[in-house]
């Protein structure tokens, strides 16, 4: 910068850049800290007592299969046929072609690779069924079939299921679905008993703190989504800022949530990547305010500081 330094910059010059040599007032740091903590304790206790915190019980495959058997069966069919959202998600779960969000050549999702592989047919349907004491013989039939046969069975069964009265598996007209109805029927029964939750969760281990499979399976169905929508938690309901029971959620994500509501983001297939990118740029801009001339001069143009230092300016 030539000549004069911008007084709104971060340069350590002038009165702002040198120790204060003017009038002082008494100040007690520890007293202020004590008062500050005490006030916040009182406010926190009041809010906690009056508003509490939500604790809506978790959803299980058991509660889902019992509450909405048809939705569970349809989702399980999609998992078996590899047509569910998870089955076609792309990295980090599957290597589905063209499923990633990109900006031009930037494809961070593919770059990260399939680090958490999920084969929905095996993980959500066939492997759990194989743990049953009386293994369904249909597992072998399925495994022996060609990819084309499998796809035809699940497709026709999915269509028949959607057309059946109440979409109920029991009301499906007979047809050429191969082993699919038996597999889905057994899986549904397994889910209704609660056994499926345990098997999907444990994945052969006594200890397992990783809920990826269970959450992905739940998310592929309508039941979980509808429960969330009822509580205003979905993306188009500014869900990030809410919690169940009308408790405020992460309200500080308002801007992040806002971008999802407006075009071009609201309709973009790569909305997540775009919004993350915009938020990163905005955060960087905020951090760099002291170095960006037009940004750092805004407080001078809009003189809110006159209110803050009212006393000082009056006594000039």
């Amino acid at each position: 910068m030539k000549g004069k330094v911008d007084p709104m910059s971060a340069r350590a010059v002038g009165i702002a850049g040198t120790p204060w040599r003017g009038k002082l007032r008494e100040y007690d740091l520890f007293k202020e800290l004590t008062v500050g903590v005490s006030v916040m304790v009182v406010l926190t206790v009041i809010l906690a007592l009056v508003l509490g915190s939500p604790d809506e019980p978790s959803v299980t495959l058991k509660s889902w299969a019992n509450a909405q058997t048809a939705d569970f069966a349809a989702t399980a069919t999609a998992e078996l046929g590899g047509t569910s959202e998870t089955a076609q998600y792309g990295p980090p779960y599957t290597n589905t072609k063209g499923a990633t969000q990109t900006i031009g050549a930037l494809d961070l999702q593919s770059l990260s690779g399939v680090q958490l592989p999920v084969n929905t047919a095996n993980a959500f349907v066939l492997d759990p069924l194989a743990t049953l004491p009386n293994q369904p013989t249909e597992i072998a039939t399925w495994r022996a079939a060609t990819k084309a046969e499998q796809a035809k069975w699940t497709d026709t069964y999915a269509t028949a299921l959607s057309k059946a009265p109440k979409s109920a598996p029991l009301n499906v007209k007979s047809g050429n679905y191969g082993p699919v109805p038996a597999l889905i029927g057994d899986l549904t029964a397994m889910a209704q008993s609660g056994a499926l939750d345990g098997v999907i969760q444990a994945q052969g281990n006594a200890y397992n703190l990783n809920y990826t499979n269970e959450i992905l399976f739940l998310g592929d169905g309508q039941y979980f989504q509808n429960l969330a929508a009822d509580q205003h938690l979905t993306g188009d309901q500014w869900g990030m800022m809410n919690e169940t029971g009308g408790t405020p959620g992460q309200s500080w994500l308002w801007l992040f949530s806002f971008f999802y509501q407006i075009p071009p983001f609201s309709t973009a297939p790569n909305a997540d990547l775009l919004v993350v990118g915009v938020m990163l740029i905005l955060t960087l801009l905020l951090a760099l305010v002291p170095f960006i001339p037009w940004l750092r001069r805004i407080p001078k143009w809009i003189p809110v500081h006159r209110l803050v230092w009212k006393d000082y300016y009056r006594k000039r």
């Binding site: 040198t18 906690a48 939500p54 961070l108 990260s112 809920y211 500080w252 500081h305």
Partner: protein, 231 residues
């Protein structure tokens, strides 16, 4: 004699320890770290919000420590546990509230002036790291909310290539981030932020001039006549 001159004359300091002590005392002498007075312009409600954020952060930590004693299931089954969970939630909400008011206060006061850019940047850093810390907290609720947040939150992380390593449905991983890594990060950056504020002193009003009544006619004993010095 000023503090700096006194320190410069400290005899024969040649060990790392000694030099570190001299450097620290020079940068942050005890009366700057724990002051009993402040410039006359430090007289506004806006100054309490930084302290409010510290206060709520301390409650967040204290309530989090109590929740840790019994582990994550405690609050589903115990009324006391649920109350402590509510304290944890609401101190977080208050921390963000005070922090955001503080942020905007500092923006309109252009508090980065006079060599305070790093104070501002560590402030933005505190905000950013706190957001991640709060997010991981929401994932630990082990109830419907955490299931849904894990399901919805994964997409933005996966799209940016982070989800492959930072798996929001992996409760074990999120637990570690929430109770060790992120609290350490928030704590470290907030301490740095506050130490920087004490080192630099509170920023004077925009347009403050040497001719202002509060800078002229101050009795010589009020402050030591230090040289104009850049930190």
């Amino acid at each position: 004699m000023t503090q700096d001159e006194r320190l410069d004359r400290e005899p024969d300091v040649h060990t790392w320890t000694g030099r570190a002590r001299v450097w620290m005392l020079k940068k942050l002498p005890p009366d700057k770290l724990l002051p009993e007075d402040q410039p006359s312009y430090v007289a506004s409600w806006i100054y309490v919000f930084g302290m409010g954020a510290i206060g709520s952060l301390l409650i967040v930590i204290a309530s989090g420590v109590i929740l840790s004693l019994n582990g994550p299931n405690w609050y589903h089954i115990s009324a006391l546990g649920h109350f402590v969970n509510s304290l944890h939630l609401w101190s977080v909400e208050l921390m963000f509230l005070t922090m955001v008011v503080h942020l905007w206060g500092k923006f309109w006061m252009a508090s980065w002036r006079g060599g305070r850019a790093l104070t501002w940047i560590t402030g933005v850093g505190s905000f950013a790291v706190s957001i991640v810390a709060a997010f991981t907290g929401y994932l630990l609720q082990t109830n419907f909310d955490s299931q849904w947040i894990a399901f919805e939150g994964k997409d933005a992380l996966n799209a940016s290539g982070i989800g492959a390593w930072f798996n929001v449905s992996n409760l074990g991983q999120m637990f570690m981030w929430h109770v060790t890594l992120l609290p350490l990060a928030v704590g470290a950056i907030v301490v740095l932020h506050v130490v920087l504020v004490r080192m630099r002193g509170v920023v004077p009003p925009i347009d403050a001039a040497a001719t202002d009544s509060q800078l002229t006619g101050v009795p010589a004993t009020a402050t030591e006549p230090t040289e104009a010095k850049v930190n």
